[in-house]
Symmetry: C2
Subunit: 242 residues, 2 copies
């Protein structure tokens, strides 16, 4: 891991880094050396490690709960190159969507292709970050962040709790069954991208004994603001205990 | 309203009362005169105004959030007489259950009968309590507490937010559609009494723009302890603002 820019402002230290060729960012409380929970935070499709939603969540997790938060760019996002086969699935998904034809299977294939690269990238990032941040580890990721996060959490025993959601493709049911840690799972009741039945079936498929579903009215990008603090409290309960 | 026993212990003042012939209890913080939210708390079937779960919830709401909490015995509960027609539905529901036959429609008829009496009883209780407790009003009730609470909240404009759940009979969909205030709705994913599809359909039927579903693994009586604080925070957010 190589750290680059290191800036502290408004009580938050922000360090950019590279793990191999993957760019990431680590946010920590400026005035506190830990130990503290580390939240690995995957971004949604079309976003990147420092897009607006990521910054809002990171700021809340760091300043209200004293967590460390790390984010990396997903394959094909934030300027990273896309794998040729993923690029073909993405082009086909866009073609189908523009033609008004069903496209979710093709989008799921593209995201599954990204997850094949992203899971070991997250694992290498965690390997490197644990020298800096030795505390308990959680994961937060919606949509593409769950298409990557579900197989990642299933594969990675160091992750002790996760907030997932805005996902429901049947191809995620198998890795979801291998997730055993506590999960909070967010559903948007009027999601235009994720079928409600699919989202509920994916919650059902999670292998976690402790899982909790939070569903709210609204479309894919309209998760209510209060769920951010709910998610932070969920992670704190499972990573800090009590 | 006539107040009877008035006892203060462990920071909680407990006053028993009668509204007409309905026995109730009001819990308030011992050392604080308000104004504060008032939570009307209906109990489940076979329980009563001071059963163990009611006491746990009342203690948390009063001591952790400074709410006032009131509870009354439902018709046919806590020593109150049962209406003859409700008694017939209840006897038939028990006979069907013991015979291993479908009984939920009959149970819903019994609870609907109780609600016909209980809705005006809650309204009279609120009339009387508002002289004592003038703050914003919320409702909390699961199972029978929702079979009564859904038509009550639909009918009573003074209730500004509600926590409902463990209910899913289609006969509740009509009053649920008339509920317009914020609702947190609890579902037990493995509820042996309430069909999952029915519970999700009842959440869907709620007329509230701000509604949030919380579902957790487990049977009817196994709502996780952390949902109590979640419910308190939901009520605080909508009754206190901010």
């Amino acid at each position: 891991m190589r750290f680059a820019a290191d800036v502290t402002a408004d009580g938050i230290r922000e360090r950019e880094f590279l793990v191999d060729t993957v760019p990431g960012v680590l946010w920590t409380p400026a005035d506190d050396a830990g130990p503290r929970p580390l939240i690995l935070m995957g971004h949604g499709g079309g976003q990147h490690k420092k897009s607006a939603g990521q910054l809002v969540r990171a700021r809340h997790f760091v300043t209200a709960h004293g967590f460390a938060v790390a984010s990396i760019d997903a394959p094909g996002h934030g300027g990273r190159p896309e794998d040729p086969q993923v690029a073909r699935h993405t082009a086909e998904f866009r073609r189908l969507a523009e033609a008004g034809e069903p496209y979710l299977d093709e989008l799921a294939r593209a995201n599954a292709g990204r997850a094949e690269f992203a899971v070991p990238e997250w694992q290498a990032t965690l390997d490197a970050l644990q020298a800096e941040e030795g505390g308990p580890v959680g994961y937060y990721g919606m949509s593409l962040g769950s298409a990557i996060g579900i197989p990642f959490v299933a594969a990675e025993p160091r992750v002790a709790a996760a907030v997932l959601g805005l996902a429901g493709h049947r191809s995620l049911a198998e890795p979801a069954g291998r997730v055993k840690v506590p999960v909070a799972f967010l559903v948007q009741w009027d999601d235009e991208l994720i079928a409600r039945d699919g989202a509920l079936a994916l919650f059902d498929a999670l292998g976690s004994a402790a899982k909790t579903l939070r569903a709210n009215p609204g479309r894919h990008t309209e998760v209510p603001a209060f769920e951010l603090e709910n998610s932070a409290r969920f992670l704190a309960r499972h990573l800090r205990g009590g």
